[in-house]
Symmetry: C2
Subunit: 161 residues, 2 copies
């Protein structure tokens, strides 16, 4: 793999396998682009700014994993300062989307909890897209969906350092 090809990803695949891998990577970026557009749509519908919604989505994902989220975690995830995060949480608290709770073991820290109303609102806006996605999944076998789920997991691991 030459320097140029690594940098620009503009080479002609040399083997069938390379071609397949490249197709997958390209499709992944296109999918990511589509997800961005979806998030833009939901953010318009929910009348929220981009980072407030991104924070909300992050809290939902972490909650599903049974993890706690601190203001610091949000700052790192979004790449903004803790000061900006304080204001972000002020907005989300004011609007009733999240609550700040004391951290059970660290009296400096807080944990951020999404309210039931906010979770319901998010999934309500997500619902119509999710319905179409579920429909699209009908054309995939159980085994295929299994591979796809595993793929998402592996990519997630590959991306966390």
């Amino acid at each position: 793999m030459s320097e140029v090809s690594t940098v620009t990803e503009r080479w002609v695949p040399q083997t069938p396998r390379e071609e397949i891998v490249l197709s997958t990577l390209t499709a992944m970026r296109a999918f990511s682009d589509a997800m961005d557009r979806m998030h833009t749509g939901i953010r318009g519908e929910m009348e929220m700014n981009a980072s407030d919604l991104a924070a909300l989505r992050m809290v939902i994902v972490r909650e599903q994993r049974g993890e706690w989220v601190s203001p610091h975690d949000i700052a790192v995830h979004l790449g903004i300062s803790t000061a900006s995060t304080t204001k972000l949480l002020d907005r989300l608290t004011e609007s009733g989307h999240v609550e700040r709770r004391p951290h059970p073991h660290d009296r400096r820290a807080r944990i951020v909890v999404i309210t039931d109303a906010a979770r319901a609102e998010f999934f309500r806006h997500f619902a119509q897209r999710m319905t179409r996605m579920r429909a699209a999944m009908d054309s995939f076998s159980d085994d295929e969906l299994g591979s796809i789920t595993r793929f998402f997991g592996e990519m997630g691991l590959a991306l966390q350092e």
Copy 2:
């Protein structure tokens, strides 16, 4: 499927198939979360703000599809006004990441073209993550990657209304 379950996605799947579909949807959100974090990382490394980088990524994806991108397209994709987009393009032009070219058939319009330097810079920062992702793909067969590529395509279609 009850009202509540649709809204909050907090039901216990009734069939094995439902369970598989739900796992895939959950994995997809987690993956999207990981991608967000990756974009945050790249944006830190490239010292760009979130929307400028999002615009750059969008232009790269569209370019790969052989599509032209107008300032208006960027505004719609990011959910910002055309006025903000003008300033965004001023920044990206100033920093040498994009160029505004005249639209060949519409003398009001512009097309936004990414510079070779910017593309190379983006893929340079993307490269290390991509290497890990490529490595993770080794554990998937050609058929699996084929299904995954098709899945990304189908989800993309499902999301564009």
